[in-house]
Amino acid sequence: MQFLKLVLRNSLRHKLRTGLTVLGLVVAILAFGLLQTVVDAWYAGAESAAPNRLVTRNAISLTFSMPLHYRDKIRGVDGVRTVGAANWFGGIYQDPKNFFPQFAIDPAPYFAMYPEYRVNDGELHAFLRDRKGAVIGRKLATTYGFKLGDTIPLQGTIYPGTWSFTVRAIYDGAEAKTDTSQMFFHWDYVNETVKAKTPRRADQVGVFVVQIDDPARSAEVSRAIDRQFVNSLAETLTETEKAFQLGFVAMTEAIVVAIRIVSFVVIFIILAVMANTMAMTARERLAEYATLKALGFGPGYVARLVFGESVAIAIIGAALGIAATFPVSAAFGAKMGTLFPVFEVSGATVALQIGCALVVGVAAALLPGRRAARVKIVDGLRAIG
């Protein structure tokens, strides 16, 4: 009890210094949490991928398409349960900065393969009946204020022209990490329109999403699918949905690595600040440590006082920083709109924040604690005045 009293009261002894150190910790822990959440958001697509879904694309690159008739051949491969076509649409809603993903899909198989997109049955039927209809995610609807029956005009980029889609359904995510910032509409409608304007671009598919019976056979089924199209004009590359999503992340990996490095640099900076604070503290209290040792307290007790104080300050800073991470992340995520479909502070991020704070608390006290523990009593007593 006496030890805890000493630790806590010493922590609050220089209120301004402790306050500023805690403030620095709050900012550092908050910044770290925010940056880690940005990294998590980058990987959100891969994290939400299902193990029983494969993605088949042109082996050359995603910018090359595949003939529609591949769909039937893929469906015939042993182990395949469902196949659906999907094309990245890449339209602009009013302004290029209003980015959100749009896909032309095979509606029935697609929604069967993505049970995490929860659509009301009535709305889904309304969508299936309307070839110009669209299904949008809840986040997208909230961001732009879209309601059922609204028309969403898109300026085509990959598919030139002005396109209009009517919102027939709004889906919710089964989990917090489910992306609800997307828009889906009928592949057939887009294909027919393209066929009328530029027939040579018709009947081409960007990717086939393939649902398989047994996730354990994903490698085997992938190979079997790709074998179907060996030596064709459009050879395929089939991989798990997770690998496919990670492929996207890999394209921007340098940014992710930079963000990760910056997040740890922030922690290192606060470690230096904290170490300076603890060094000043230990230097000022040498006479007290010497007195404690003269009274019979061992070097370990004195070192624990320094460590205790440092860790106590770190914990206070971490608690406030973590508490601030949630509202600040929510505000940041809202500000980013649909750029980050999923922007949630994960449990792993909070655990990392706690871990970093503890490391800062302990590491900052290493040298001051050692100095306090090793102070010679006669030297320490002389430091009093």
Binding site: M1, Q2, F3, K5, L6, R9, N10, R13, A287, E288, T291, L292, K293, A294, L295, G296, F297, G298, P299, K376, I377, V378, L381, I384, G385
Partner: protein, 243 residues
Amino acid sequence: MNDGDARPLISIRNVFKSYRRGGQVVPVLHDVSFDVARGDFLGLMGPSGSGKSTLLNLIAGIDKPDTGAVLVDGVDITQLGESELADWRAGAVGFIFQFYNLMPVLTAFENVELPLTLTHLPRKLRRQHAEAALALVGLADRMEHYPSELSGGQQQRVAIARAIITDPKLIVADEPTGDLDRQSAEDVLALMDRLNVELGKTILMVTHDRRAAERAHAIMYLDKGELSTAGDVHERSVRDARR
């Protein structure tokens, strides 16, 4: 006022002590030997740099001689390791410092109780002991005050209460009145007198203050690291008066 044991409480034998300053070795104590009887109240005097505080530190076990033996109650403390020495100090010595050296974040009561936290005494007993010690020094009504809320004299009395809380046989005091006004110094010296007379504590006091030294039964002079004279306080006073 001793406990019947005829052996001296403190025996210093052929103690040498020097410090290194830069590359130079500065001798501080040169072949010092003397005994202090149990229940004695000994004043250590001498000019600055004579080695009196160093001698006190050696006896208190917070410093070690280069050579020689320091026996306190039969224990040669020069042979003890750091950890053993810390345990020994906790039970055998009470410290009174010139600047009180109280923990500023602890109340008077908590400061006095502090050394008892090293013992296995239950909290209730620790409280009783600390209250009794503070009552003894006349600060029963200041228990919850922090050092910054007490005068210098009161802080020194808290330090005295802390020094006796573990009931040590030996109390070492380094300039206990050096930072006090005359009245507070008188109060503190009277208190130390009581500790010696009523509780039988052996007291070693380093002082420059002649009035403080008059409280001692005997005075020991150190000059340039050598024990030059010893005698009772009256001999010393006469000698000082003739100077």
